[in-house]
């Protein structure tokens, strides 16, 4: 490099540094890098859409780089993430549910992304959403929102009719849900209800929604993260699930996410708890079932009246160590999130699973041009808008504050193991809850350093 080059670079760098506060692109270093930037996402087309957007950025600004998308199946997320981090070979950009993000964030493994947020636009979030929901810790943001996704009560209206159920699920509480499930099982060929009960994170997520509606929580964020699980609300929830269980397909004890989707799409069950993906799948393989499906907010807890769901608050995170492409990933993320077509295409790739998080996207007239809006408009807005009002998450229980221990809990499948003790080993709900509380204690004790 000769002196002129050096000065030019120096000036550019200096200029870039000066502009850094308002986030101008630092193109200088990016241009010379080559290689493959690995991006991980959960199964589904949307991560691919984001990556396509990132490649558009790369073509113009870093032609030597290619972003590739890899899929992390849900059962594989924890082991794979851990071994990859341990091996010092993480993907450069990862999209995961928030509890995992929170755990990594608290461990200090993530790169802060306040600069990206600044570029994306601090005032841009849809009403009711806060940046922290995706991942902020000790004053800094570590996760860039990708979308939010809640699971709701999805029913087949024809099955409800066949079972003689005339009340709308909008009015249901837990007892109504239980009765509906039993009636469906009795009077129709379908099972009453289905959700995952295997030893997987799916089960943990489902249980969280129910537990939070009942008023239970794992850790008390306001009281030093003390374990607060051993409560009547938890016992009540476990009892509720074991009452629902006889109306569920017997295989549910081994089910994880996609099994539940197929349970609805193949017509096996009359009701499921699921995210929007189930609609896409049904439309693809069983249009007759698709036509009859509708989504509602969950049945309300009889006492608390809460209808909470689990919301993934899915976001992009950037591992800090052993990641040669941090700058490029930030650029690419900011690019695809600020070039309006890409977030819209992202949402349109799997309606209504992926809910828009930015106001301009949510209000874009082109949003409703997707074919599903013709017949499922109400359902889609249940996912996009209403669900957010009832959102909760085990990493941010009742949205009262982030606790990083949830990721660890789910990695061990503690909640899933708890409910399985009731359903498989025939423990009482009381003892199972006590067992879970004991395990949570252990998690808290072993990871106390994360909470300080």
């Amino acid at each position: 490099m000769n002196r002129r080059e050096f000065l030019k670079q120096g000036a550019a760098l200096g200029g870039a540094a000066a502009l850094g506060a308002i986030g101008a692109p630092r193109q200088v270093r990016a241009q010379r890098k080559t290689g493959t930037v690995r991006v991980w996402g959960e199964p589904g087309p949307y991560a691919g859409v984001a990556v396509e957007g990132m490649n558009e950025w790369a073509k113009a600004n870093a032609p030597g780089l290619t972003f590739t998308v890899e899929t992390l199946s849900w059962t594989d997320v924890y082991p794979k993430l851990m071994t990859d981090l341990a091996a010092g070979r993480p993907a450069s950009c990862i999209s995961v549910e928030s509890p995992i993000a929170f755990q990594l964030m608290a461990e200090g493994l993530l790169e802060p992304v306040d600069d990206v947020i600044a570029r994306v636009g601090r005032g841009r979030l849809i009403p009711g959403a806060k940046w922290e929901y995706w991942g902020a810790w000790k004053g800094r943001q570590y996760v860039v929102p990708a979308h939010h996704q809640s699971h709701l009560l999805v029913v087949r209206t024809d099955v409800l009719k066949e079972a003689g159920i005339t009340t709308s699920p909008e009015t249901w509480n837990w007892n109504d849900l239980l009765n509906a499930a039993r009636t469906i099982k009795e009077k129709t060929k379908a099972f009453g209800i289905c959700f995952a009960l295997g030893r997987t994170i799916a089960t943990d997520y489902y249980l969280s929604g129910l537990l939070h509606s009942a008023g239970s929580r794992m850790f008390d964020v306001r009281n030093n993260f003390q374990v607060a699980f051993d409560s009547p609300a938890s016992i009540e929830t476990f009892d509720f699930v074991s009452e629902l269980y006889p109306s569920m397909p017997p295989g549910a004890l081994g089910y994880t996410f996609l099994d539940v989707v197929d349970s609805m799409a193949t017509g096996q069950s009359g009701m499921v708890f699921y995210w929007g993906r189930v609609f896409g799948r049904a439309a693809e393989v069983n249009p007759k079932v698709f036509e009859t499906m509708e989504a509602y907010q969950h049945a309300a807890h009889p006492k608390t009246g809460k209808r909470l769901n689990w919301n993934d608050f899915q976001g992009w995170l950037i591992p800090k160590a052993n990641n040669p492409y941090i700058a490029e990933v930030k650029e690419a993320l900011a690019y695809y999130l600020t070039h309006k077509d890409w977030p819209l295409r992202y949402v349109h790739s799997l309606v209504p699973n992926v809910s828009p998080v930015f106001q301009d996207v949510a209000q874009d007239p082109r949003l409703t041009t997707h074919p599903f809006f013709q017949t499922k408009r109400r359902t889609i807005f249940e996912y996009y808008v209403e669900a957010l009002k009832n959102a909760s998450n085990s990493g941010n229980e009742l949205l009262e504050g982030i606790n990083p221990l949830a990721g660890i809990v789910h990695g061990r499948g503690i909640l899933a193991q708890g409910i399985q003790k009731v359903l498989i080993d025939k423990w009482s709900a009381k003892n199972a809850v006590k067992w879970v509380a004991g395990e949570l204690e252990q998690v808290r004790r072993e990871h106390i350093r994360l909470l300080i």
């Binding site: 082991p79 071994t83 493994l109 295997g198 030893r199 295989g251 990695g411 499948g413 399985q420 498989i424």
Partner: protein, 302 residues
């Protein structure tokens, strides 16, 4: 026998026998030390430390990992299940194996074709057979339930992978399918060395087929069977893939064995130290088993 022509002795550099011996032995010694002795030693060392995948730090904790593992009810459940799984598999493999060996010992035309097919299950990757098993034993669409229905043996679908007993059964069946051929081949090899006149003499004396089996065949098979049983027991006990790929140790933890337990400790609980401690316990049990085996072959050679 025509030996290849050997060139005339050359002058100059030539290694002595001893040197050649050592030279030939070195690669093995180096590789064995690096890839067998060392990892096992490291595993033992790791058992006395805690290690998280997030940091390179290794902290000495003495016997804590062992206390944790031995105090974990899941460990004991896994051990109990491992025993059930091992004993059932080995028993079935032995009984069916001996039966099959007797069958294949017949001198009929084309018997070699059948013998040839025998090792087929061994060579199928566990991943493949686990996937095929999952498909065959799928409760709704699998051929197994369908056939059982057709034969009138069941009325309702068996939920092979959601019920602890049936899950254990399906895992044992897979193990039996895959490894009975070993037993067959070993027993068959032994059968083929038993002198036919013994049977002829017994037949002349009026002994029935069962008596011939019990009094001639079985004693001759005793040593090979004991060896085979010990081997199969040791291997089955420590098997990881056959269980993990089929049921992941589920439903719940009902098909856990010690290897699956160790894997879960490492990858789900992120406790590499506890996983290593489990490994050490497995090694200890293994050495006990091998000592038994060595005593047996010692006896056999006498």
């Amino acid at each position: 026998m025509g030996l290849p022509a050997v060139p005339a002795p050359r002058r100059g550099f030539r290694l002595s026998d001893r040197q050649v011996g050592i030279l030939f032995m070195l690669p093995f010694a180096a590789v064995a030390a690096a890839f067998i002795v060392w990892p096992v030693a490291e595993a033992v060392r790791l058992a006395f430390h805690t290690k998280s995948p997030f940091s390179p730090a290794l902290t000495f904790v003495g016997l804590d990992n062992f206390r944790y593992v031995l105090g974990d009810p899941t460990f004991w459940a896994a051990l109990r299940q491992a025993v059930i799984w091992t004993v059932s598999s080995t028993l079935l493999q032995s009984v069916i194996g001996v039966g099959l060996a007797l069958l294949l010992h017949q001198a009929v035309r084309g018997i070699n074709v059948f013998r040839g097919l025998l090792l087929f299950p061994y060579m199928v990757p566990t991943v493949v057979i686990a996937l095929v098993w999952r498909w065959m034993f799928n409760p709704e669409f699998g051929i197994v339930n369908a056939s059982l229905h057709r034969l009138g043996l069941i009325r309702e679908n068996i939920y092979w992978f959601s019920d602890p007993q049936w899950a254990m059964a399906s895992v044992i069946l897979l193990n039996v399918w895959k490894f009975t051929p070993f037993v067959v081949i070993c027993v068959l090899a032994r059968l083929q060395t038993i002198q036919v006149d013994l049977y002829d003499a017994a037949r002349v004396d009026g002994a029935s087929a069962w008596q011939r089996f019990r009094d001639i065949t079985l004693p001759q098979l005793k040593t090979v069977l004991s060896v085979v049983v010990v081997f199969r027991t040791i291997w089955t006990f420590n098997k990881f893939e056959e269980i993990y790929l089929l049921t992941r140790g589920g439903p719940g933890t009902s098909t856990f064995n010690l290897a699956v337990y160790a894997f879960e400790q490492a990858t789900a609980n992120l406790k590499l130290g506890a996983a290593a401690a489990t490994g050490v316990i497995m090694l200890a049990l293994l050495f006990g088993g091998s000592a038994l085996y060595l005593r047996l072959i010692g006896r056999q050679e006498e």
